[in-house]
């Protein structure tokens, strides 16, 4: 199960909540995060989530009155490490492996080359799936502008470094015979020369050296990318779109959905976090305008705190409630609009905005009850 969404919408927490539900239901579940999310570790009751599989001890659940029939595991995907692992696995010999790992382009490439992080993550996900140790793997994806970045990264990377696309850099001559879209028919050396002008010859030379070595991994790349792609598109994989209720984020979530849907991927549900509860309805608001101060005054004698000015407090409470009512109405409106644009069968689960950030297992469980209610 893959949680996608824009940044700051609570994807990591939602992933953990889904994991918790699955563990309570008797599954052996793994929650896989990409960020070093300290608060997630805290909310699971452990110090840190490392790049090794780690089981959340049963006692921690019992301490907060939970009795999971399954098991909950957590792990952080370390991009650099995942990529090193690929090099170690696919390099033809020790010498090439060292050459790649020590190349000054490598460090830069392995963490910044568009798609490498996502590629490494999806590879690791694939491995974990193949090992078949878990009933469910919940993946918390990095925030992206395009939902499919994560999904398409393996393919894109494979395309880009594939036998044809890059080899012209280190195997001159390969471009000839390739139908270019340009009107002029140009030779490889011309293209490289023009590009050199653009990037500087040094960069092209550096890239050439690096890619020649790196290309020994390409066969592995293409093959793996296809398998990962297949898994992500299969019925075994489901997507959960996580969002917040404000207009902009909802728009982004719908955009994610369209992308996923047009690729025929399974979107299982929408989760809307941080929905402002409607604490006071319109009728109560109207009634209160005249009666609130009086009610507070008559409550004073029973309240074990220093006396307050009831009129002043009533004014504050009304202003506050009005402000939050406005937010609640807006939230409800954008959620309704979202529902209208999605197929009617799409489940939309709302989780209220809590007074506190979630940083304990019991907080996670409260969110779980809301999400699965």
């Amino acid at each position: 199960m893959i949680c996608v969404g824009s940044g700051g919408v609570g994807k990591t927490t939602t992933s953990a909540v889904i994991g918790l539900q699955a563990a309570l239901a008797g599954m052996r579940v793994l929650v896989l995060t990409i960020d070093p999310a300290r608060r997630l570790a805290n909310s699971l009751g452990i110090d840190a989530i490392g790049s090794e599989l780690q089981q959340i001890p049963l006692e921690l659940f019992q301490e907060v009155g939970l009795e999971p029939e399954g098991e909950m595991w957590a792990m952080m995907l370390d991009m650099k490490e995942s990529f090193d692992r690929i090099v170690e696995r696919d390099a033809p010999d020790e010498e090439t492996q060292q050459e790649i790992l020590e190349n000054r382009f490598y460090h830069y490439f392995s963490t910044s080359l568009a798609g490498t992080q996502e590629y490494a993550a999806s590879e690791r996900l694939y491995d974990l799936h193949e090992e078949d140790q878990f009933d469910l793997i919940v993946l918390d994806t990095p925030p992206t502008t395009h939902a499919l970045d994560f999904l398409e990264a393996p393919k894109r990377l494979a395309d880009a470094v594939s036998s044809r696309a890059l080899q012209w850099l280190y195997k001159p001559g390969i471009l000839s015979g390739t139908p270019g879209r340009g009107i002029l028919s140009v030779g490889t050396s011309y293209v490289t020369r023009t590009l050199s002008k653009f990037t500087g010859g040094e960069l092209i030379d550096e890239l050439r050296v690096f890619l020649r070595t790196f290309s020994t991994l390409f066969d592995g790349f293409e093959e793996r990318a296809r398998s990962v792609q297949k898994l992500l598109c299969s019925d075994e994989t489901g997507f959960v779109v996580v969002t917040a209720p404000d207009t902009l984020t909802v728009e982004e979530a719908l955009y994610f959905y369209d992308q996923l849907d047009s690729d025929a991927l399974n979107v299982d549900a929408f989760v809307v976090n941080r929905v402002h509860p409607k604490w006071v309805d319109e009728a109560a608001m109207e009634r209160a305008e005249y009666t609130l101060a009086g009610e507070l005054e008559s409550l004073q004698s029973r309240v074990d705190a220093e006396f307050v000015d009831a009129n002043e407090l009533a004014e504050g409470l009304l202003e506050n409630a009005l402000q939050f009512q406005l937010r609640a109405t807006q939230d409800a409106g954008s959620i309704e609009k979202m529902g209208d644009e999605l197929p009617s069968s799409m489940p939309i689960a709302c989780v209220p905005y809590f007074n506190q950030d979630i940083h304990s297992l019991s907080g996670l469980d409260t969110a779980r009850q809301e999400l699965f209610s």
Binding site: S6, G7, G8, A37, R39, F105, Y108, F109, S112, L113, A114, Q117, P142, P143, T144, R156, L157, A160, V161, A165, L166, L175, G180, R181, L184, V186, Y190, V191, T194, K197, F198, T199, L203, E206, L207, T247, L248, T249, A284, A288, L292, E295, L296, L299, R302, D304, E306, V308, G316, L317, N320, A321, F324, R327, Q330, S334, Y353, N355, D357, H359
Partner: protein, 314 residues
Amino acid sequence: MTFPDLYNRRFVLFSGKGGVGKTTLAASFALSCARRGERTLLMELDAKDKSSTLFGATTVDSEIREIDDNLFAVDVTPKEAMKEYALMILKIKLIYRAVFENRIVSSFLRVVPGLNELVMLGKAYYHATETDDDGNQVWDKVVVDAPATGHGIFFLKIPMVITNLISTGLMFDEARRILDLLRDPERTAVALVTLAEDMPINETIMLSKTLREEMELPVALVIANAIYRPLFDDQQVRWIEEARTEVDDDSDLTGFLEAARFRNDRVTMQQNYLKTLRDKGDWPILEIPYYFFDRMSFAIIDEVAKDLDEHLTD
């Protein structure tokens, strides 16, 4: 607290993680500049038209358009920026098409690390230093809404990475010029936008340190967005807490007290995070109040623009 005068800089970049209101702040700042009579260019980078929503019906795309008096906006896509840049160098369109629109070359260009970021920054640089035929600056202010991708500061880092990797060529020269502009506190300011919440605060502290120490960029201030104004004093807060235990769940009063508790708890939490932010660095922190309406409207841009104008000029 005194704030550095952002209005004296020509090139102002807004950075921060996604979902913190960076786009809103950049747009508000640009609007406040325009209202001061400065010819202002707001640059969205690969934003998919996000700020269109902010300015009503006006479309923001790869053409520079006037969206309000003195306020111009453009959405820079890597593809368009690459094309402009390449054409500037190659001069001839046919050559551009033959080379850059070659399927193989373009799929290569898509994955060359940093190229997209560099050409977008290059365009920002171009406008920040653009002069007319008489040698006058075309823009008084160029405001950049930096992308909030998973790669985080990668965008601002790219000129430095490139100048470290290579030492000759056009790309090097371009990176060098951009880096000089970025590092010049007379011309440039970086504003970091954050929320007073756990993850954003920690990331902002890390980001600010990296930008200042590793990259020597002038981080002028941190903008803490969406700060709840406290409505209740300590005595009222205590009273509300106690009163809640005395009131039945179905009473009309309950909703009022719950809403107040929500605000009080959030205020406390935010103030704690702001304290962490203050303790961990000497950057000026500008607090922008939480507005109780959906953030994507001109009304809020307008309000925030006034906040900025008021706080940044005293």
